[in-house]
């Protein structure tokens, strides 16, 4: 078990319990002049890697526990093929053994994460990862025990890609509510796209035949799990529709075209950036938000109407977030912490904005995706803050400040973007 002092929180409680008594902001600022911001004045974030987003991905489909339980059972079955604990007599090469054990451990971790996931979709995604990791380990061991070949697994992955092609060509855009349908179909489109486009494992050439087999095992399992989940989501969604539900394809296609035009216009009307003038954190934020908006507008999915609509939601959010940033720059904001409370305030603002945006958006289903992204950004900022156990120079906090501010700007822009997309879909 981890001792209190080994976690940042425990460490800070021990170090700061006396120092904080009666501490006021004035006293903290005087601390700053002595060389940096004390960690006890920074936001009380979880240890690095433990920060959880307050909003996570979801899909308006009633995913049954049984479906998730089947995926979890598959993970257990795969891990059950391993002679755990895997020892030197099983796999003498310690590096190879560590790779297999690490995958098995990650599979178990993802299984636990899935049980604690905030939404059923998150659980589904985590179980997909768990399956891939478990299969990696299982096939690595199958290489030793049963001479498993890479060719067999490559063929399994190709079969998954063929299934994905079939699913794509047979994809009927059923639905009654175009907003709900857009979110569900976009989730399925994206899952299928990955199976079709990611033909090879992302890791590149494996360093050995055994690890090559393991890698392809994981990749084949990810493909298979993606197909299972896509089919399940589609069937489950279809089953939830009334008998007279028709197609939303024309609605999605018209909306996709209109939103693509809208984004094109926004992209063309964005004025050139002024030459660097506002100092580092300001310029960096401005550059990043502009790049984000432009790349989202430029990379609109082609031929996938539901994804185009959902992507447009994120892209419009990015343009509006940039506008908000420019307003704040004009007001003279520097986006650099002068005290611990500046960081705390920025973080609180981000969390509140995300929560409020989910409540204020005309469609929480549509709003969820960009808000889940903003919430992830907050956790990245938390991870950066969590690294500091000693006094920290304000400039070192530029990154977490930027992440909190970006999350806030995006979250506050979500209701407006959502309104625009809903209007288009209902037009």
């Amino acid at each position: 078990m981890e001792s209190d002092s080994s976690t940042r929180r425990g460490f800070l409680i021990a170090a700061g319990s006396v120092a904080l008594a009666g501490c006021s902001e004035r006293e903290v600022r005087s601390d700053d002049s002595e060389g940096g911001i004390p960690p006890t004045r920074l936001p009380d974030v979880p240890d690095e890697g433990d920060s959880e987003p307050i909003v996570v991905d979801d899909v308006p489909v009633d995913i049954e526990r049984e479906h998730l339980a089947r995926a979890a059972a598959r993970v257990d079955d795969l891990l059950g093929t391993l002679p755990l604990p895997l020892g030197p007599t099983d796999v003498p090469n310690g590096h190879v053994r560590a790779e297999l054990l690490s995958a098995a451990e990650t599979a178990t971790d993802r299984l636990d994460d899935a049980r604690a996931a905030g939404t059923r979709l998150s659980a589904m995604l985590l179980l997909r990862q768990a399956r891939a990791e478990a299969r990696y380990a299982a096939e690595g061991w199958a290489f030793v025990e049963r001479d498993r070949t890479e060719a067999e697994l490559r063929e399994e992955r190709r079969a998954a890609a063929r299934d994905a092609e079939r699913l794509r060509s047979n994809h009927a855009y059923v639905g009654d509510d175009p907003i709900r349908a857009a979110v569900v179909h976009a989730t399925i489109e994206e899952t299928i796209r990955r199976v079709i486009e990611n033909r090879d494992p992302l890791t590149g050439a494996a360093p050995s035949a055994l690890l090559g087999v393991a890698e392809w095992g994981g990749h084949a399992e990810r493909g298979r799990a993606s197909i299972d989940d896509s089919r399940y989501l589609y069937d489950r969604f279809e089953a939830s529709l009334p008998d007279d539900a028709g197609t939303v394809a024309p609605t999605l296609e018209v909306a996709a075209e209109s939103l693509t035009d809208d984004l094109q216009a926004r992209r063309e009307s964005i004025p050139p950036e002024p030459t660097a003038s506002g100092g580092d954190p300001v310029d960096r934020l401005r550059r990043r938000l502009r790049r984000d908006a432009e790349s989202r507008a430029r990379n609109a999915p082609d031929g996938r109407p539901a994804s185009t609509v959902v992507n447009a939601m994120a892209a419009i959010t990015a343009f509006l977030a940039r506008d908000r940033l420019l307003d704040r720059i004009e007001d003279g904001e520097q986006f650099r912490a002068e005290s611990g409370s500046d960081v705390r305030e920025r973080r609180s603002a981000a969390l509140e904005s995300i929560q409020t945006a989910l409540e204020d958006s005309p469609s929480p289903e549509l709003a969820r995706d960009p808000l889940a992204n903003a919430a992830r950004l907050v956790t990245y900022g938390d991870d950066e803050v969590a690294r500091y156990r000693r006094r920290v120079r304000p400039t070192r906090l530029d990154n977490p400040i930027r992440r909190y501010v970006t999350a806030t700007l995006r979250a506050r822009s979500v209701p407006g973007a959502c309104e625009r997309v809903v209007e288009t879909l209902n037009a």
Partner: protein, 243 residues
């Protein structure tokens, strides 16, 4: 404790430690990595220099505190424990008398060193001794060596050893190579050394079947990237040595 694995770290990045030694002086020396870069392949080529992709090489590998082969002279900088993981040591051996100072540790076949030294014609050839640390579960494959009158540069590919060869993750060993160059170098003139490693096990222009002799034995023929079959019976003769 299981050390961080490739999968835990960035999966796609082949980390290549490139040691930029330009300007290093000294005839025997060692150098820690001064910069890290990422590249597809480590390339040993020096523009305008001579490059040998398959030099006559004797490889010694040992999990000991000292390099398996070293120059036993006073001015050699000892390899300091604790900082050795990124250490590189190198020496140009341009005379027979200097070659006589080669010291083999107890774990290696000293006769192989003697034979290699004896077979070197120092009026037309030079020996280059280079020692690297490598994780025990990996081995280095020499991709090539390049030289000019003032500079020597080597390139390696780091390969995972077969799964059924016992080794510990996180431990490291020495690999010392005696390389015979078909040229006369003056060690007083050579003032720059470099070495790069491709973390994905590939040599620039890979596809050859080069092999080295390990501890006086030939390294496994199937030991290229992807080899998971254990070493074959060592060959009795050295490859490609001109007597």
């Amino acid at each position: 404790m299981v050390p961080p694995t490739r999968r835990r770290l960035l999966r796609t990045v082949a980390a290549v430690a490139t040691v930029g030694l330009a300007g290093c002086s000294g005839l025997v020396g060692e150098q820690s990595g001064t910069s890290r870069s990422v590249s597809e392949n480590a390339d040993s080529t020096i523009p305008g220099g001579t490059t040998e992709r398959d030099p006559e090489t004797l490889l010694f590998r040992a999990g000991t505190d000292e390099p398996p082969v070293r120059i036993g002279e006073d001015d050699e900088t000892p390899v300091r424990p604790g900082r050795r993981s990124s250490r590189l040591s190198y020496a140009v051996i341009d005379t027979r008398s200097r070659a006589e100072q080669l010291v083999a540790s107890d774990e290696v076949d000293a006769d192989a060193v003697s034979a290699f030294r004896s077979a070197t014609a120092f009026d037309s050839e030079t020996l280059y001794l280079e020692t690297r640390r490598v994780e025990e579960c990996f081995r280095l494959r020499l991709c090539g060596i390049s030289w000019t009158a003032k500079e020597v540069r080597t390139a390696y590919a780091r390969e995972l050893r077969p799964y059924n060869e016992r080794c510990s993750a996180g431990e490291s060993v020495y690999e010392s190579r005696l390389i015979r160059l078909p040229a006369t170098l003056d060690r007083a003139e050579v003032n720059s050394y470099g070495s790069g490693t491709d973390g994905q096990g590939r040599c620039h222009g890979d596809g050859d079947g080069r092999r080295e002799r390990e501890n006086g034995r030939r390294a496994p023929e199937n030991g290229g990237a992807g080899g998971d079959t254990p070493d074959q019976t060592p060959a009795a003769t050295r490859q490609g040595v001109s007597e």
